[in-house]
Amino acid sequence: MLKELLGEVDRADYLSMSRLATQIGQPISLVEEGLEALVRLGYLAEEASSTCQDLPCGRCPYASMCAKDSLKTWSVTEKGRSFLDRVR
């Protein structure tokens, strides 16, 4: 499942848990768990976007004015890339 998931993430334009779940025929909770495992194992990198809340904005009154949605981005790491190259 993890290898399949890694391949799907690599092919995807964007990440939708429900779409990945449909593609690999597993429930969303398992897809989420699988992605976390791939991050833990170093095949994927996950990063929540830095919003104001994460930044040292001090007492700037605009500190809370930025986008509050935490946009998550994912990337296939070098380890993940070399694995995919080997299995393809």
């Binding site: 993890l2 993430v9 848990m17 429900s18 194992l41 976007s49 009154p61 004015m65 986008a67 694995f83």
Partner: protein, 670 residues
């Protein structure tokens, strides 16, 4: 002696509820030795027998990634529990069973408490506990610990398991190659003296568990064997992707188990979000749809904010101004103070504050988009364009942050690892229309384009993005060359915006805006007022004042752009301190010349529609504010880049403003 039951489970699986329900008041809390992880123990009784119950830390796995994991697995392996009750959240069963597979690998006696079955049923997740028990080889008991349901049956199963022979004889297969390595390693490990099951140790070694590796590497008995040393170097140290195969083996096992034992509605069903995303994030339609939505937001902002609410604030500010005047006259305040209050504070700060209704509506609508999950789509739609101009998609995230304020926008570029991406993202961020620039657009829209406010505001935002993209493209081909890295953005499901979130978002923005008006803008206006009324003898607010002299010195630069008057020049000059100060300064200098003159009326006399557009282009693009320049200096670690940003942005703003005015004039626009 009391038998020991260990409770293990994922965080939020209801494990502690089970513990409390079993032990009641018979519990005590301490710490596990050597760590700060909480240790809870208690006693329970079943069929006249007393049992010691140990609540292990909640964990998703039994690796060595955290203290919680190590504490839990050490107790299971070396604490000699007579049985382990694995509390499994039935609503999230696949995830919870990953931990179960690791318990089975340990070869310990396990009973599963299938908890929260009521919630699972409510969500149409049906778990066949008999099929689950058969697949796992351990007893499974349905429980609802919060209502004490199934706990007697759970204790009965635990008591029976304690006295029964070993259960859980499920052999996980990780594939032939790995299974062979595990078997070989087990044979080696039998020659050592380890306090752990050999099968578990073998799997953990191949999985790269540092804790286990360290322990085994200290075994001189094993390392005396040449064959083991060779196996260790080739297979354990250079394990390659064995870890992935092993973890994958566990997930496959979980998948197989749940395939037969769990029925849930959402498997392989395309969700509403997916269907909507096929349209909203479409390769070709996504961008026009995004532009259309933003245009609607800006049009609604003017339709509601200006037509319904705008007058209230103008009347309110007039009332405040008159009240302040009356108060100061009553108190026999000196003339200079009256002038400062009326023409400095009320005209200057008031000119900014009058636009609060529009800002309220704009941020309320943006809040709805944000809370619905659409803004993540907007970022994704722009992501493709970002890549086309040689930037990675994540850059747009810092640009979105920059729509609030460029200072955190510049700081948000810290998430970009690559220097090329980061430098470009820093240098283009000030082109984003931050909240402070909005009053400038609004005052000129009110003066010249009151019926097309939405389109003009939309154009200002769009122009900023367009210029940012063009500059990024040029920089990525010249100053900062390098490859574009690939990122995938996660799109969260759509959700119905909640009133609380939308109102909170709106309040955050408006309060920030008002706080700035009361602090930075007040300070800038106070300073400029002093410059506008000095030297004594010169006509206050006139060209001979210090402010007027500064304006006259700068103004000729802007003559080709159509706004070569000294008032516009000092407005732009003060905007380098803070962008809101542009409107505050204009409000002050025009109000001082003609007592009580409305800023909008004064601007109509000083600008033409064409020069107004050219001025808006200039304010959108020219030199960033002092706070942003300071942040650029800090983030790039160089004053040179801050200076570069100040100069090149001014040049771009000036060039485009001149182009707008000159081309517009040639085309016959006034």
């Amino acid at each position: 002696m009391a038998k020991t039951i260990a409770l293990v489970g994922n965080p939020n699986s209801g494990k502690t509820t089970v513990f409390n329900a079993l032990t009641g008041a018979n519990q005590h809390v301490g710490n596990w030795p050597g760590v700060t992880v909480e240790r809870k123990e208690g006693q329970t009784h079943h069929n006249n027998q007393t049992y010691r119950v140990v609540d292990l830390p909640g964990t998703y796995s039994l690796g060595a990634f955290s203290e919680d994991e190590v504490v839990a697995r050490e107790f299971i392996l070396t604490g000699n529990p007579d049985v382990v009750i694995n509390v499994v959240d039935a609503t999230n069963i696949e995830r919870n069973l990953y931990l179960t597979t690791q318990l089975l690998e340990m070869g310990t006696k396990v009973v599963i408490a299938l908890n929260m079955v009521d919630e699972a049923e409510a969500r149409e997740i049906h778990v066949d506990e008999k099929a689950l028990a058969q697949a796992l080889g351990v007893p499974v008991v349905r429980t609802v610990a919060s209502r004490r349901k199934g706990l007697d049956e759970l204790m009965a199963a635990a008591a029976a398991t304690i006295h029964a022979p070993m259960n859980g004889h499920v052999e996980l297969s990780y594939g032939k190659a790995i299974d062979a390595k595990v078997a070989r390693l087990r044979a080696f490990l039998a020659k050592g003296d380890f306090p752990y099951p050999q099968g578990w140790l073998a799997v953990k070694l191949l999985e790269g568990d540092e804790y286990v590796r360290q322990m085994v590497s200290e075994s001189s008995a094993l390392f005396e064997l040449k064959t083991f040393r060779q196996f260790w170097d080739e297979t354990v140290i250079h394990a390659g992707d064995l870890q992935l195969d092993i973890v994958d083996g566990r997930y496959k096992f979980v998948g197989e188990v749940t395939k037969h034992a769990v029925r849930r509605p959402e498997v392989e069903v395309e969700t509403f979000t997916d269907k909507l995303d096929r349209v909203l994030t479409h390769r070709y339609w996504g961008m026009p749809i995004f532009a259309g939505i933003m245009l609607i937001v800006f049009q609604l902002t003017f339709a509601i904010g200006q037509d319904f609410l705008g007058e209230w604030m103008v009347v309110g500010m007039d009332y405040v101004g008159e009240g302040l005047d009356r108060l100061l006259v009553t108190l026999n305040a000196p003339g200079w103070l009256l002038d400062f209050a009326s023409n400095g504070v009320v005209a200057g700060v008031g000119a900014v504050v009058e636009f609060v209704p529009l800002i309220v509506i704009l941020y309320m609508l943006m809040g709805i988009l944000e809370d619905s999950g659409y803004m993540a789509r907007a970022a994704y739609v722009m992501d493709n364009t970002m890549r086309a101009v040689g930037l990675q998609g994540k850059t747009f995230i810092s640009m979105i942050v920059g729509f609030g304020c460029n200072v955190p926008g510049v700081m948000a570029t810290r998430t970009l690892e690559n220097r090329k991406d980061r430098m470009i993202a820093i240098l283009i961020n000030p082109f984003m229309s931050c909240g402070a620039k909005i009053p400038i657009y609004l005052v000129f829209i009110a003066a010249f384009f009151p019926t097309h406010g939405g389109i003009v505001l939309f154009s200002a935002y769009a122009l900023g993005i367009l210029v940012a993209f063009l500059v990024a493209k040029i920089f990525s081909k010249t100053l900062f060359k390098g490859e574009v890295s690939h990122f995938i953005m996660e799109l969260p499901p759509y959700r119905t915006p909640t009133l609380t979130n939308v109102l909170r978002n709106m309040w955050d923005n408006v309060s920030g805006f008002l706080a700035r008006a009361g602090t930075t803008i007040f300070a800038v206006v106070s300073l400029l007022w002093v410059l506008a009324v000095l030297p004594t003898g010169a006509e206050p607010y006139g060209p001979a004042s210090i402010l007027g002299s500064i304006g006259q010195f700068i103004a000729p630069i802007f003559t080709p752009a159509g706004f070569g008057n000294w008032q516009a020049a000092v407005g732009l000059f003060s905007g380098i301190a803070a962008k809101e100060a542009v409107v505050a300064t204009l409000g002050m200098v025009y109000a001082g010349v003609e007592e009580g003159a409305a800023l909008v009326t004064a601007i109509q006399g000083a600008f033409t529609p064409l020069s107004a557009v050219s001025f808006m282009v200039m304010t959108l693009l020219y030199t960033p504010c002092a706070a942003t320049l300071g942040t650029i200096r800090k983030e790039t670690g160089s004053g040179k880049w801050a200076l570069f940003s100040a100069v090149y942005a001014f040049a771009i703003g000036w060039l485009l403003a001149v182009a707008v005015f000159q081309i517009g004039s040639l085309m016959g626009f006034a």
